[in-house]
Symmetry: C3
Subunit: 264 residues, 3 copies
Amino acid sequence: MRLITLTTDFGTRDWFVGTMKGVALGIQPRATIVDITHEIASGDVRGGAFALTASYCLFPKDTVHVAVVDPGVGSERRAIAAQTRDYFFVGPDNGVLSFALAREKIKSIHQLTNDEFFLKPVSRTFHGRDIFAPVAAHLSRGVAIHKFGARLKGFVRLKWPRLRLLDGKVEGEIVHVDHFGNLITNIDGKSLRVFADKPCEVFAKRKRLCPIAPFYGAVPIGRPLGILGSAGFLEIAVNGASAAEKFSLRLGDQVGVRPRVKSR
Amino acid sequence: MRLITLTTDFGTRDWFVGTMKGVALGIQPRATIVDITHEIASGDVRGGAFALTASYCLFPKDTVHVAVVDPGVGSERRAIAAQTRDYFFVGPDNGVLSFALAREKIKSIHQLTNDEFFLKPVSRTFHGRDIFAPVAAHLSRGVAIHKFGARLKGFVRLKWPRLRLLDGKVEGEIVHVDHFGNLITNIDGKSLRVFADKPCEVFAKRKRLCPIAPFYGAVPIGRPLGILGSAGFLEIAVNGASAAEKFSLRLGDQVGVRPRVKSR
Amino acid sequence: MRLITLTTDFGTRDWFVGTMKGVALGIQPRATIVDITHEIASGDVRGGAFALTASYCLFPKDTVHVAVVDPGVGSERRAIAAQTRDYFFVGPDNGVLSFALAREKIKSIHQLTNDEFFLKPVSRTFHGRDIFAPVAAHLSRGVAIHKFGARLKGFVRLKWPRLRLLDGKVEGEIVHVDHFGNLITNIDGKSLRVFADKPCEVFAKRKRLCPIAPFYGAVPIGRPLGILGSAGFLEIAVNGASAAEKFSLRLGDQVGVRPRVKSR
């Protein structure tokens, strides 16, 4: 398998991503490299972790996933690679891989210390190019993961915001705002099943925001809806417009779902 | 042939385009996937149709072109694939394919209903990933188009803005504003031939805007010109600057070409 | 070898880059095309030259590098291809290739005049698609460079801003502002060696800006530092934030390094 994905906060204005690909293709000319996104907010490790976890499992088995949101580059933070039942993951050990790893059956995790597989001299500002891209390329060529360094017992985990279920309500928070202005929450499809087919509604700050609907066009243009989105989480959307602009809601704000309150 | 192109309004901030590629490459690992653009304005079906029609014919024979600007995703709008003499086209049947199909010799158009070729469960918010990407990958592997669903007699057509030719003038409108601020019109090279080699000028709201010139540098820096652009249409440009900023002209505004009026 | 890189000011909103790839892949279906960036500021030839020179040498031998920042497209400016010991370069002869060529051992440079290798009819607004992409694809297929046109004796060179070394100080200027707001200077690692391991500091307009540090996290969050960046030049950065926003410094502004002045 020759697929490598990249998730970074490097942007696309500079040559950073291009050089990562140049280094990887120099080692594995047959690699197919797919950009997940390079527009994670600068240093937003959790945003990178979320993008990776929303996308990695759509790729074929043995894909090597590289995620580099790395404000601690050059410091003592570890660089790691993990092998799971279906994939490889490569990146800094700062939590950016942790949401995806938490969902996977992990075989082993290794610290990246064997500089035989690095681009030398290794800079202290761009490990994406000097460590992570070459390690990913070597992995995709079939180099065994234990060659890169010693096995680790754990990895840095980011806290996934908890759901609260009480009084017949499910409460969570906004974890991502997408390109369309849809507000993606951490409320997953499974936790919505408590409502079975009973009518329910999305609320924030105790106020009703919108009903749950099966697709955008099920409400009139300009009207809001809650919808189970393609990443498996409840999203607050507006048909034909931006929910982020309509509502003054932001990343981290609390939202919930409750049985529909009849208006009198 | 293994070329697939993507034209969408998904932006590049999220994982949407990456997952479309992951799904397609899982089915056809040898695909080469080329991004036309992912920055069509949200829900701007006509903008997507124009980008596709300006680009598709530059690709080699048998390329599979996917266009997803799909505000009606999840509703009853149909999903279609078309085979023409030279290409395949895949997308929602909302007009986004219609400018390109209007220029092509169509062999057959099919509704996409055979979910054997879909990613399951099919979401109601992201058919780009669940229907269009996998269908494109199967087409590029050589699956015959009739396998995807019943043959259709027609498809939804967007209206291409009409040119008016009268009194020795050609009148059209602005159909795209590009990255450089060039104002691209629907006035094509053929309709400019009525002026043969006689001097002519671009006008809007009856006022002269600029002369026609053969290349940007034919007028001084900062000066406007009309020019037959690379997509085959008259463009209003400014040498070294943005026509969109210089003129208060926007998408849909009327512009025309007339014989040069001598200033007295 | 089948690697082609693209560095342009075409942006990603339109179909321009996509059609360059379509044309190249029609000629060389086995090409792997890597985007360096398409977000060079419109017409900023020097910005394009800098991005190319910061990235080209990370690619494997025989890569064909295409750079198109081409405000003079359609005029009499020449189109060229160069073969160096390790690479090929293709673009307009306006200096965009010159920083890279100045670092390379040049074998020969040729004017692109043989329209047998062009996409016809050649437009006067988009040589990226009509000349540079097809020539790059033919080069990557192994067409000898002398087939494209007559050998040239020279090429247009941009002036690389000079360093001044005096009074134990090194003075240069800001040559690039990156996505993170890091201010990249033309002061290279070699010229910093005059300070050996003595403590030194970055200054601008005679005022001290920040110390030199080995990695971002070596100073507290929100604090500035000078650092030898991954492109081999001194950068002014802020740990966890944007130096461009913190300091009112811009492209072309003078900055320098001097021995640390003890505060009293």
